[in-house]
Symmetry: C2
Subunit: 198 residues, 2 copies
């Protein structure tokens, strides 16, 4: 077998089919790994998906509820949103946390990087844990009608395990932080707040 880390695809040409401020859809003429000429459509995302789990000193976090137009139903998710590619993921996370919850955090750890729908798109997701929280006033953007809820992190884990939180980056982030807490490798302040530390 040839080296699997070497790109087995050849791009012959590329044509933009659709573009707006969030994404660009292009159709490439390619030679695939079997040597056959075919087409590959790629959706380039101009925004990263950013999700944040803020944990306060009482072991609580926040969920944001909104009606998802794409799915035609309501969805509970950790705070987050779209981060432009020319903004660092950490800066996007701090901005989104404050916009949606009013909170600012003195401590941050990036705990997750994801590829989202990688058969079709190049979207990436970043998940953050935030602690050392200060309250403030939310300022959601014009498209957002948000419902905010503060609840124990362990309840959010239970909601996720029961399938009541379904957004992909949210699920991965909650379960990743849960695994870090269970193994004692979350930050000591977070472990203490969750009653899982020394």
């Amino acid at each position: 077998m040839s080296d699997p880390t070497v790109n087995p695809w050849t791009t012959l040409s590329s044509a933009v089919q659709y573009e707006d401020r969030w994404l660009r859809l292009r159709l490439d003429e390619v030679i695939n790994p079997k040597g056959l000429r075919t087409q590959y459509r790629v959706i380039h995302y101009k925004l990263r998906a950013i999700a944040i789990l803020p944990i306060d000193a009482e072991g609580c976090t926040w969920l944001v509820g909104q009606y998802r137009y794409t799915l035609n139903r309501f969805s509970w998710e950790p705070p987050g949103g779209g981060g432009p590619l020319d903004e660092t993921p950490a800066a996007s996370a701090a901005r989104e946390l404050t916009e949606e919850t009013g909170l600012s955090a003195s401590h941050w750890r990036e705990v997750l990087r994801l590829d989202i729908s990688n058969g079709i798109a190049d979207e990436v997701g970043h998940g953050f844990l935030a602690w050392g929280l200060q309250p403030g006033t939310p300022a959601p953007d014009d498209n957002e009608a948000l419902t905010l809820r503060r609840l124990p992190f362990r309840e959010v884990v239970e909601m996720t395990l029961r399938g009541e939180i379904t957004e992909a980056v949210s699920v991965a982030l909650v379960l990743k932080v849960h695994a870090l807490v269970q193994s004692g490798t979350a930050p000591p302040e977070v472990l203490r707040a969750l009653g899982a530390g020394g």
Copy 2:
């Protein structure tokens, strides 16, 4: 505040901008939750994302490696692929498992449903646990140049926690099964195979 589970969006019109056999991109004229007229672009997926974690009697699973054209790099992921909307997710999972690994399974549990990129798309993901495995011959499709690897499930958990597995449905599925194993709520045969049961 009005009832957050009632759709606060109004669709005025809808126009298809791009379509192929995997997706349809439409641009809707809408009135948003703030009462402002604007546009919303929705990518409708014609395929579900299906991922499977097969667990054998020795507590091992399989990863499939392939070069992801969208990302321009190699990616290790549990077996899986696209399931047409007119096929049940369970049937897609059984088909994809056999195509990519040759395996068939006598026992299945759906452990995960995800919304993928729900700000822009209506794609859904389904994650399955499969056990009671019989070997067979893989038959990947023409676009796939796959590398297959059998390894202990606990190593896949470690790879995921270290960020070496990054595809979103894969990460959520591995961490969900890890949580079920840790809490003793995975199927008894799976717990025994992983050395976590009685």
